[in-house]
């Protein structure tokens, strides 16, 4: 199955989850998502998602100047973001549970 299609639906959740661990900037969020196993995550998708979540009021942001290399715009969860994350995580857990049940039957049948 095409992972990018699946990713479209859960990218918000994935980005919120990454930021919940620690504040981060765009490039770093992409890197951490890929390290976590979401190899196919698109750079622009993450960048755009961060901007949208920020605009929607789920994130705080601050610029960290750096002496060598570019300035970095860090993002972190605010209360709205954390509430969104909790809600979305619950939805995801239920959804994943349902899917696992479905697929469990499929696996038993094929054995």
């Amino acid at each position: 199955m095409d992972t990018t299609q699946l990713l479209k639906g859960v990218l918000d959740l994935a980005v919120l989850a990454v930021l919940d661990r620690s504040d981060s900037y765009g490039y770093d969020v992409v890197r951490r998502l890929r390290e976590a196993g979401l190899d196919e995550v698109g750079d622009a998708s993450v960048y755009g998602t961060l901007r949208r979540l920020f605009k929607a009021g789920a994130l705080t942001s601050y610029v960290v100047p750096s002496e060598e290399g570019p300035h970095r715009k860090y993002y972190g969860l605010n209360d709205t973001g954390r509430a969104t994350l909790a809600r979305s995580a619950k939805t995801w857990a239920a959804f994943a549970h349902t899917m696992n049940d479905l697929l469990d039957d499929v696996e038993k049948g094929s054995r």
């Binding site: 998708s45 960048y47 290399g69």
Partner: protein, 341 residues
């Protein structure tokens, strides 16, 4: 500025250009630190940005989709754009649609030319107050040529390079005007010349050589052969014009007469196809061409032709007509459209 910085600047400029139609606030918010972000990616490896991220346009499209672009442009604009994005995604996700769309795009040059011509027609429309398809004059022809070429040039220029936001709006507007012009044509004329006010006879237009015409002399319409849409010939189809007048064709122009077997009522003058037969040499020589005399026995009282109010057949009843099949004038070119399917 080293080569890497230049590459980053160029890539960022490409992305910005592709987002040019977004409201300024959205665009700024979306790409304010794009260069810094790209620099991080560039620092990761020596690979060119376009190789890692794809072309700037697709990067911009992904950015736009993830951002849910267009939120500040008012509800209608946003809905339109969302619909466009959704349609784009639908096309992207469906291989058949994608192929179809790619195929349609091959016809863009034809549309550019048609668009220019439609614009010219729109100008003529305002000059005349009615729609005309043909220039009818050197200046008008030149105007059409200029507009067609201009439209083509604009099309070619923006084929691969997205236009700036304002230009794009203007282009979209021009396209919409052209489409509306087409619709106007299709609906049969502008408000100043509704079809029900136009004269009953078709105006012969000298440049239209492919369509059959009324009043075109021997080459014009002398009879009408109606066919059903599945290709079956229809008989006795009564035709009327927009004022309810029976449609009559000047079949005398081709040397035809209405064929009436003696003793039968005269044929209905607007029931198509008309039973016509060619005048014989003798009849031709005997007859005053302006006023062909009745050739059938005058004993049979001619009932009023249906429908009531229909003018009498222009060709008078004629005698000695054989049974209609033999006299039936079938044009040498087969008028039957090949049945579809």
């Amino acid at each position: 500025m080293n080569a890497r910085d230049e590459e980053i600047a160029r890539y960022a400029a490409g992305v910005r250009a592709a987002l040019a139609d977004l409201p300024e606030t959205d665009r700024q918010e979306l790409v304010e630190d794009l260069e810094d972000h790209l620099a991080e990616i560039a620092a990761e490896s020596g690979e060119p940005l376009a190789a890692r991220l794809g072309p700037p346009e697709s990067y911009a499209a992904e950015l736009r989709a993830a951002y849910g672009a267009g939120s500040a442009a008012g509800k209608r604009g946003r809905r339109l754009r969302e619909a466009a994005v959704a349609a784009g995604r639908l096309v992207d996700d469906n291989p058949a649609l994608r192929r179809g769309w790619a195929y349609l795009r091959e016809f863009r040059p034809a549309w550019w030319l048609a668009r220019g011509y439609l614009a010219a027609m729109l100008v003529w429309r305002f000059l005349d107050g009615s729609w005309t398809v043909w220039p009818g004059g050197l200046e008008r022809g030149l105007l059409a040529a200029v507009l067609v070429v201009a439209s083509g040039v604009v099309g070619v220029r923006h084929k691969d390079r997205p236009a700036r936001a304002r230009t794009r709006t203007v282009l979209a507007g021009a396209n919409a005007v052209a489409v509306l012009g087409l619709l106007g044509l299709y609906l049969g004329g502008g408000p100043s010349s509704p079809p029900w006010e136009s004269p009953a006879a078709y105006e012969p237009s000298p440049s239209m050589e492919t369509a059959a015409q009324f009043g075109g002399g021997p080459d014009g319409v002398l009879n009408i052969y109606p066919y059903s849409k599945d290709g079956k010939p229809l008989k006795d189809v009564l035709l009327y014009d927009q004022r309810g007048r029976p449609v009559q064709v000047p079949f005398e122009d081709g040397g035809w007469v209405l064929d009436q077997p003696c003793g039968s009522p005269p044929p209905i003058s607007n029931a198509y196809p008309l039973p016509l037969r060619q005048l014989t040499e003798e009849e031709l020589s005997m007859q005053d061409p302006a006023n062909p005399e009745p050739t059938c026995a005058p004993g049979s009282p001619a009932p009023a032709p249906q429908p009531s109010g229909a003018p009498a057949p222009t060709g008078d009843p004629s005698p000695s007509g054989g049974p209609s099949p033999t006299g039936d004038p079938t044009p040498s070119e087969d008028p039957s459209p090949s049945p579809s399917g």
